[in-house]
Symmetry: C2
């Protein structure tokens, strides 16, 4: 049912018009093919053609395929580049991949095939079955075109350091273009994945250029690895919580003015009234707890209409949220979340080792360190460490971003961990629904979790008693009628509960040691960017 995205364009057309369209399309495709072949075999083509096509021993072995529109359902015999290995030497394989680069040197054409983050070199040499025409055609294929190459796997004459497969090559007998790229690319894949360590004299791609042409930027080994790992973060989060008996729930993003509100909210017309975009699934996961689901998680977009143009703010990001009823103490939940992170870090290390290495090639970072069980510090201990490092701050002052960063460094130096939990935040700096510390109401039953000195999770025990919640809201000066539905959720019995919310893009960014959240959001949204 998701197909109707462009449905407004999908008006019925008459059968005649459809037929006409189809014919026109076919004609256009043929014309394009002809042009491309002409260009690919440019210049000398006329010389060759003067001798007549009979001279071309490679006829049928190169060219541009007809548009693949599912004419025949043949068995797939293609092999992926990543599957190629020494045992295949001497065998003929069929590979579909992008033509990454090509260069002709007189009687030879060297070209690189790339498939995701794997690559292999092909060597096409003039010979009894390879014509000059074929050589020129292949050398002229536009970079990033997708080709079907049939050829023999051979041992590379010398190590091909520019490819991921260094010890093998393919000697092609056929090179067919499956999808032709335009001749001029807005950015070069090699430029986009150049290592940061390579110095300033090499070509680089600016961030806005990357994002404007995201489909090309996504093709770099770095992007492939980054987003595969990001998928892994979600998988490991769910895997751990599912094993612990959590239920996955879905929370609405369209909310009424009544239940939430205030600044930094996107609002819109909703039939005869106003609706807003949820800034978090907080209320809904708490309602699921009041509704007896006991342990829930939810993954989905959250929206912040905040005009922040920093390396770590987005107007839309993905929240990994969880909420859990506990028996005696919110540390039952806090420690479970801590363990979840350890499970995640272990899983990333194990299942995404190659991805971490690939990203590290372009953006070197120190490996992510953590302790098991994770380090837990009291907020006041953190303040103490900062004071010892010369920072002046109050006991119950919130951590500024620079102080967070510094604390991360101090903790790393002292405990050798990039991940830690800071427990017992001052009550005054937390939202009204945070449970006060029963021993000292200067503090609260709340915690943040940090990766490389940046907050990636905020959580707390929530007040599950409607009377205390009302009191606290009053003392924060909140108009009770605006949060009545929230308070009412706790009127029919609710277990004590705690939870937290994680920013997916931040976790990926900080785990990999990247410097900008736009590197870990596939299609980032900020106050200035809404496309592609």
């Amino acid at each position: 049912m998701s197909e109707i995205v462009l449905d407004n364009f999908g008006d019925e057309i008459s059968k005649k018009a459809a037929k006409k369209a189809q014919k026109a399309a076919e004609k256009a495709a043929k014309k394009a093919q002809h042009k491309a072949e002409e260009r690919a075999t440019n210049g000398s083509a006329t010389n060759e053609q003067s001798g007549g096509p009979a001279e071309d021993v490679s006829v049928g072995k190169y060219g541009i395929c007809e548009l693949i529109c599912s004419v025949e359902n043949k068995p797939v015999q293609h092999v992926n580049i990543s599957q190629l290995n020494g045992s295949m030497i001497g065998h003929t394989v069929l590979v579909r991949a992008r033509l990454h680069t090509a260069r002709a040197t007189g009687k030879q054409c060297f070209f690189t095939l790339r498939s995701q983050d794997h690559s292999i070199q092909c060597v096409l040499a003039l010979g009894p079955s390879v014509s000059k025409q074929m050589l020129k055609f292949v050398a002229g294929i536009n970079k990033e075109s997708i080709v079907d190459v049939t050829g023999v796997v051979v041992k590379a004459a010398q190590a091909v350091s520019s490819c991921t497969i260094e010890d093998l090559e393919i000697q092609p007998s056929s090179v067919m273009v499956v999808s032709l790229a335009e001749p001029r690319l807005p950015l070069q894949i090699d430029d986009a994945q150049r290592a940061e360590t390579e110095g300033d004299e090499v070509a680089r791609v600016l961030q806005d250029t990357r994002l404007d042409h995201r489909i090309l930027d996504l093709r770099t080994a770095t992007s492939q690895a980054t987003f595969r790992l990001e998928g892994g973060v979600c998988r490991l989060f769910r895997e751990y919580l599912t094993a612990k008996g959590f239920t996955e729930i879905m929370c609405p993003k369209l909310i009424s003015a009544a239940s939430e509100g205030g600044a930094n909210v996107f609002g819109m017309n909703y039939f005869e009234r106003k609706a807003f975009l949820a800034q978090s699934p907080q209320l809904y996961k708490q309602m699921a707890i009041a509704g007896d689901f006991e342990k829930v998680f939810t993954i989905g977009p959250v929206f912040r209409a905040e005009n922040s143009n920093t390396h770590r703010h987005l107007t839309e990001f993905v929240g990994l949220d969880m909420e859990m009823a506990f028996v005696h103490h919110y540390h039952e939940v806090m420690m479970l979340i801590g363990d979840m992170f350890v499970h995640m870090f272990r899983g990333l290390e194990k299942e995404h080792k190659r991805d971490i290495e690939l990203v590290g090639k372009q953006f070197p970072a120190t490996p992510f360190r953590y302790l098991s069980p994770p380090l837990v510090l009291q907020f006041r201990e953190g303040v103490q460490m900062l004071r010892e490092a010369g920072i002046e701050m109050e006991d119950d002052e919130d951590l500024s971003t620079p102080n967070e960063k510094l604390l991360g460094q101090l903790v790393k130096a002292k405990y050798n961990t990039d991940f830690f939990i800071l427990d017992k935040f001052p009550l005054a700096v937390r939202p009204f629904y945070t449970m006060p510390d029963p021993r000292n109401s200067k503090w609260s039953n709340s915690y943040d979790m940090f990766m490389r000195g940046e907050e990636i999770l905020s959580g707390a025990q929530r007040i599950h008693d409607p009377k205390l919640l009302t009191e606290r809201a009053n003392h924060h000066g909140i108009a009770i009628d605006t949060i009545q539905a929230y308070i009412d959720s706790f009127r029919y019995g609710c277990p004590p509960h705690a939870g937290g919310g994680i920013g997916l893009e931040r976790v990926t960014m900080l785990y990999l040691g990247l410097d900008n959240i736009r590197k870990t959001s596939m299609f980032p949204r900020d106050p200035k960017r809404l496309t592609p």
Copy 2:
């Protein structure tokens, strides 16, 4: 970072004010407790009290706990009702659960404990350690309150048919209220989960009442089972695709006017311009394919500003979307999706057997039937079946909702399957980006999938060639500049690809044979409902 949902209320308050708030809250809580105890032990309490508290042999064995605000981190010794079994007879257990119902009969009080969809009967009898006061207190505890019960597991005197555990009972020695519900409930859990087959004379709960008080409605065994199973649908979808090498991606919901547009779209102010809510992740999953991810899936909300008030439309629902590059034929993708459904149906049968039974108790339905491999019919075969059943329709007319339903019945009668794939839809009724059938452009490389006669997936091979795509858009009368970014995505080489989008709530609804999509959306949104 999701904690700031109500951040606008979270202004700092002075320490003094915080302290004051805390004290007031504690006072309020104590007052509430006192009142509740008074009410729980109402009427006769005065009589008892005249004898003085020394007479109460149960002092300390009943009452209302202080608000659990994590004073002490004790080991959790509670047992879940679902864990109770015959081997525990004679043992003392501690259970936290809701008080579902209670009735006193002179010297005894029978009460039912409920935890999610499990329940057990407790029998409290006046005796050497159980006072009259305790009996009255327990009999008076408001329904839906959460209690901690300590007691001995005994064999039930006779089968307790009203509980899930029929052969055991608990003889409590202590009953403490952990979270007190208000005395009047807006709906009764038993009414909300009454079987449809029970006839008209029993109390029922109207849908709007349920949804207005969703946290109570979610507590029924039916709701618990429904949403657990819905989580299972997501899990099985991901499990299958992950095993097939798919990458999970995240697609933005905020989109610019340029790339999509038209009717049925929610629009809003986005800093200095306009933004819209995505009606599907279609464009973005195709961009991920153009960006070399090869096989992707994404789960997230999709938005439709459609003023449809039917049993199967929502303004916000959850899309399970996938897209995949193929080699020769879109059936490589279509059959993979079909297999995914078979995997899902098998998994639901196996892992959610009890959930299916629980839902069936309230809403009886025939078990969901399917074939493996799934049944694939041509669109024209479907039309033929409808014609044979007396329906008049054109060859290339789209299926109306009643005709879909009828076709589902005809297919069920002929093939004994509730799931089938209808392939080769007329080109004219599909969006412009659908690949025409290469043999006959009256048809297209597109398919719908059906469950119990309702469409739950729509999919197709997409046109991956910018020239043909432009042609088709032109012939649909679409202004090219409004979809330029979409078309440009295919300019730098793109493999042939196909995919589809599934409506989560519809799959759950139809799998379980439910009659309204609001039963499978935890917090449904329609033109009239935006709360809770």
